[in-house]
Amino acid sequence: MAEMRYREALNEALTEELERDPNVYLMGQDISVFGGAFKVTEGLMDRFGEKRIRDTPISENTIVGIGVGSAMTGLRPVIELMTINFSLLALDQIINHAAHVRYMFGGQVSVPLVVRMPQGAGHQLGPTHSHSFEALYLHVPGLLVAVPSTAADAKGLLKTAIRDDNPVIFIEHETLYGQRGEVPDDPDFTVPFGLAAIRRAGSDVTIIGISRMAQTAECAAEQLAAEHGIEAEVIDPRTLRPLDLDTILESVAKTNRCVIVEEGWPHGGVGANLAALIGEQGFDDLDAPVGRVTGVDAPMPYAKNLEQISFPHEQQVIEATLALFGDRKRALRG
């Protein structure tokens, strides 16, 4: 085990995969000389050269399109979009081509492409620069979606993403880049897709946290235990597609309650989707409706005080969890 930052773990994954497979190459804005807007690709230019670490103009849709084209013809591109906000400009290539090319041509080609990009609020960047879009990409058949919340997962999932033959939307989080964590030394360490991590065991309620919200959920769980005697099981799905629904359903079968925490908007969110799946597959196990804690249903405001109440914190997770118990107590009494 080595302790390193989330961004260093990503850098290591890229380095190892670039070394392992000569057809892996990187492309993005300011990734070579500048080392990446969040310094994830620092040093890679010196090591691998401009042929494999390619700076691009500000042309998101075309960058992804070039990535798709080269992935269809033998390369394994890893694209960095500066932030997920700018992936909106590339939605056409991501959805119409990256996600659908294999299907629409009857499986003759595949698109082993990774699109890496960070998301997340909390930096006062206002409406155009604070999006959380895991739900948007989860919506699209043909794409895989990874949402690492720890340094180890960042590394392990990125390596898996690069080796996977499907297009992978790899969503990093801006506030996690500087966080440290233990990462296995083994160069063959990977984290498989479709395997959730149980961050904390518990028997009273299942709390599912997406991306950074897995950490928020964990902190909330500690407080729930300390102050309310409620033992929460915290699950980080790590990949939303493929989804480890089995682990989630097993947990809910044990706890009978579930809260889902995400940073994005509530309408059509990941929580909405998971709540539907749990309702469909685990209805008999539920003692209360599935709870959701989400970002507010509004664009992200710039003002600090407004921004802070626009995405979930521990307190909302605690309140949402307690509400599930409150309801039950009332129901029992009634």
């Binding site: 804005q29 300011d30 000389v33 500048f34 807007a37 700076d55 691009t56 103009p57 500000i58 042309s59 849709n61 075309t62 906000n85 700018f86 909106l88 400009l89 930096h123 006062q124 960047l125 206002g126 409406p127 155009t128 620069h129 509530p266 309408h267 989400t294 507010v296 249903d297 509004a298 664009p299 405001p301 710039y302 003002a303 600090k304 005080n305 407004l306 109440i309 626009s310």
Partner: protein, 348 residues
């Protein structure tokens, strides 16, 4: 082009005041950022004052102006109150956008400053849309759209120029060529580095101006606006300039040499224009200093105003997400936190 004659003294002095105000405002904004009064990204226009003031000076009050995330200066040059621009940076209710947009998203409808936009290349189609309105409504308003050299690689650049030419829209596209898109230099991001010719294939002729010279920028922009307005022919103007600060506050500037910055700082638009005004007897040294002190005092007031302005009320969080109509049934929002927003709840 120092050989263009000075405009009438009053005009020249106004331009100089405007440029000085932008310089002092930007410096103070940067300082307030380091004191955490300002959050998010802060892109300063220090070095680019002549491009801003010269271009804005060529506009009529009824013309539309649209720019990028680097646009405190455009708002100020258009006449927005410095206190309200600063209050926006502070995220306060008296900010131009009530604290919703911040540094990257200024907007002042009254002055037809149609926004700073955070998405590179995102403002070009909007500019063509303003032009479409002018054309459709049959008035002679024109639009000036500023964007960076980096933005000229975005798909919207070609798509917008083509449509603007095809539909004869009265729009001047001004590429502010400060020679870098973040840390990537012009020759590393654009195959065609003579940016004024980049529109020719789309039917948009190019002009070029010295973006470090307010008079040249004004003269060329004025001619471009005339062509757009009278001949219904969109024009691309390349304004060559240089930003003296980093791309945003947090930029170590590893991608360019200190010598290069020093070389360009000799052409500091504020310095060279001020020197010229003195050399040609429009102002004297004391007046230059008085103008500077006045700008500093204005910025002091702006900071005090912003500081005194309250934070937005939490209950205002959902204001302006929608135009709420009493006629509409159904829920606008899935969120119980939005007070007025579960419109139609009472109807259910």
């Amino acid at each position: 082009m120092a050989d263009r004659p000075l405009p009438p003294p009053e005009t020249a002095i106004n331009w100089f005041k405007s440029m000085t105000l932008i310089r002092r405002f930007e410096e103070r904004a940067g300082e307030q950022y380091t004191r955490a009064k300002v959050g998010g990204f802060l892109h300063l226009a220090i070095g680019e004052e002549a491009t801003i003031v010269g271009a804005v000076a060529a506009l009529r009050p009824t013309d539309y102006m649209i720019a990028t995330y680097r646009s405190h200066g455009q708002a100020l040059a258009r006449g927005s109150e410095p206190g309200r621009v600063m209050a926006e940076l502070f995220g306060r209710v008296d900010g131009l956008c009530r604290g919703r947009g911040g540094s990257m998203h200024m907007f002042d409808l009254e002055r037809r400053f149609m926004g700073g936009f955070g998405i590179v290349g995102g403002n070009l189609p909007l500019a063509a849309g303003f032009g479409l309105s002018s054309d459709y409504l049959g008035n002679d308003d024109a639009t000036l759209c500023q964007f960076g050299d980096g933005a000229s690689n975005q798909g919207t650049f070609g798509e917008t120029l083509n449509l603007a030419a095809l539909w004869s829209l009265p729009v001047v596209f001004m590429v502010t060529n400060n020679q870098f898109g973040m840390g990537t230099s012009l020759e590393r991001h654009s195959a065609q580095t003579d940016l004024q010719v980049k529109g020719e294939g789309f039917g948009v002729p190019g002009l070029e101006c010295d973006g470090m010279d307010v008079i040249d920028t004004w003269a060329v922009t004025e001619e471009a606006l005339r062509i757009a307005r009278e001949e219904r022919q969109p024009v691309l103007v390349e304004a060559l300039n240089y930003r003296f600060r980093g791309h945003s506050i947090a930029d170590p500037e590893d991608y360019r040499s200190a010598e290069e910055v020093l070389e360009w700082s000799k052409r500091d638009p504020l310095l060279t224009f001020g020197d010229r005004l003195i050399a040609e007897g429009v102002i004297n040294e004391q007046q230059r200093e008085a103008i500077d002190l006045e700008a500093i005092a204005t910025v002091d007031e702006a900071v005090a105003f912003a500081d005194a302005s309250p934070e937005p009320e939490p209950s205002s969080l959902y204001d302006d997400v929608y135009v709420l109509s009493d006629e509409v049934r159904g829920w606008y929002s899935a969120d119980h936190r939005g007070a007025g927003l579960q419109k139609g709840e009472e109807l259910c």
